[in-house]
Symmetry: C2
Subunit: 343 residues, 2 copies
DNA sequence: CCTGATCGTGTAATCGTTTACACGGTCCTG
DNA sequence: CAGGACCGTGTAAACGATTACACGATCAGG
């Protein structure tokens, strides 16, 4: 593959002049510039980003480690990160942790060795030694979606407290009192926060938190199904099941269908975290929608600030309730409704 | 960030010895090795992959340019590619072309500059000058999912001819005769092949190909909805609509629901390309499932062969029909059925 | 005791860029 | 016309790793 040296020889100039033309970093005479550009086109020269990065100590690349690439939430997040990063002249290298701390660390290590200029991390479970080390060394890091308590790192996340409150109000308004929640793992900040928001919302409506209505899941479909089976087998089963994420909602739906029950006739279903096809299920599923696009974009901007040494504020965005039909028909009134998951 | 030089100084050895320990490329005395390892741990040394790549002329990285990151087909494909590549010691850098040739070329160019060791490309539409150039220069390239005619490049793809034949046989067996197809763009090999498979299957069952039943789409949901609107507005609308991919099937379903029609009572629906949540729709959608995991893995292996200079055979995998309930209930018999999209 | 093999180690070149510095020429100014 | 400012250009030194080559020490065989 052709190098600057080859281009310089072909154009009859020095490598410095070639570099100057390519980066237009300094004035070059018109004829020299023309000869260089001709040589570049002729040789099909493509600058070697590896060599450039070595010299400039910058890769114009950021790393993004997501929880699970098969989860549409993270896919959409990756898309948004990518768009914003490209606009800022950065490439994004994605690592899929598959919700496993060891795999998360594998990617973090790889990305550090590749000398990404910054790193967006959706941490999987606990603080690993590698992550702690990175934080202590002051690596340009921003947590995305999830946070790790006890580490002073900028983060971009969604606060669903108000939306969950709206959801419980909606359910309460429909006459439901026995509300169950399938929580995410307590090892994840998102798992803890959603559970806390739900129990707080119950309390705000004067509802008792029945321990048997809090079923533990792990954000994967299978756990949602198992939890739902347990809930529906109770002597007094809940009227509505709220799933802590979109995958567990899917598992819950499977179990409900497998038992030949009707939604919302026999049991209502709602989910934290909306995905496009919730609107296409029958009945369409009521969900708490997170501003995923915005979250990704804001995270990139926060990371850009961090890399530039500018002060970084925490990014906290609000979720919103999207009422559909899976918890029962709302009485005619001013309730917000929506037919499709996509604006 | 610490470099070999720092490690060497701390360990009281030369950089060569440090390198030898880290790559165990040659014998090093036990005490020297121990001192080096201690220094590495002490300094938190992380080899600079940029410098290594420059020297060794290999990045242990492959590029993957996909059509659309929001399409679950490509997400699952990326996941499989990633898994296989990691197992072989490669990192994967993903580029999302968003079905736009200009963006595809942006990523191809970027990945070439980053000196990936090989490239998996799901080409978007026509042959661009950049792609032609790359092929002529003999870059280690493998086409994935889609191919470009007239270019002699190894590829990994799915042949759905037999599965589409099975689908038409299934529909025919249910008594349906008026079958419509919402095709993908004729600029994509997958668009052309699926349409050809459908018309051939019709002919094999003695069915006439009615031109008004071939509606052109672009693999995106909106076009599926528009095409379905046209089809349902015909004086003699089709009994079944077959969508050329999963997104257009979703659009079709929206339009059918918007018109207050029942599936499969008023009109049947089937899709080429299965996705997990098809099984969760009501009714569950009959679809042609592609062996996505296998496709991704085989593509990586083909690329690995190509990079190693070994001969590469074309990879062609068969799709299979997954009968669900969206085209009508099958008469009791030996027909294959399936409840869930995931094995 | 000499010779040659083997072993552990260090020195320095190299990969393809960018860029500090030097240098010669032209032009303007006083 | 002398002097400085400025412009275009080239030379060479980095960046951090790998590795060919050389070198001294140890050791075995004759």
């Amino acid at each position: 593959m052709a190098s600057v040296k080859d281009v310089a020889r072909a154009a009859g100039v020095s490598v410095a002049t070639v570099s100057r033309v390519l980066n237009d970093s300094a004035a070059v005479s018109a004829p020299a510039r023309a000869r260089v550009l001709a040589a570049v086109a002729d040789l099909g020269y493509r600058p070697n980003a590896v060599a450039r990065s070595l010299r400039t100590d910058a890769t114009r690349t950021i790393g993004l480690v997501i929880g699970d690439i098969l989860n549409p939430f993270f896919t959409e997040l990756a898309r948004a990160v990518e768009d914003e990063a490209r606009a800022a002249g950065y490439s994004v290298v994605i690592g899929n942790a598959d919700e496993r701390p060891d795999r998360q660390d594998h990617y973090v290590a790889t990305l550090l060795e590749q000398r990404v200029d910054g790193l967006l991390l959706c941490p999987t479970a606990e603080i690993t030694p590698l992550v702690r080390d990175m934080v202590e060394r002051g690596a340009p890091l921003v947590f995305l979606d999830r946070t790790l308590p006890g580490l002073d790192v900028p983060s971009a996340r969604v606060d669903g407290t108000a939306a969950v409150h709206d959801l419980v109000a909606h359910l309460h308004g429909l006459g439901h009192r026995r509300l169950a929640f399938v929580s995410g793992p307590a090892t994840l900040s998102t798992g803890r926060e959603r559970t806390a928001a739900f129990t707080a919302a119950l309390a705000a409506h004067g509802l008792r938190v029945r321990p048997e209505y809090l079923a533990a899941g792990d954000f994967q479909a299978a756990s949602g199904r198992a939890a739902t089976a347990r809930l529906l087998a109770l002597p007094e089963p809940p009227e509505v099941i709220v799933a802590g994420d979109n995958l567990m909602a899917l598992g819950a739906l499977d179990e409900i269908r497998a038992r030949g029950l009707a939604v919302p006739g026999d049991v209502g279903l709602a989910a934290y975290d909306d995905v496009p096809w919730f609107a296409h299920l029958s009945p369409p599923v009521t969900a708490v929608a997170q501003p995923v696009q915005d979250l990704g974009r804001r995270a990139v901007r926060a990371l850009a600030d961090r890399m530039a040494g500018r002060p970084v504020e925490q990014v906290v965005l609000a979720a919103r309730l999207v009422v559909r039909r899976s918890c029962g028909e709302a009485a005619p009134g001013p309730a917000r409704k929506e037919g499709s998951g996509r604006p």
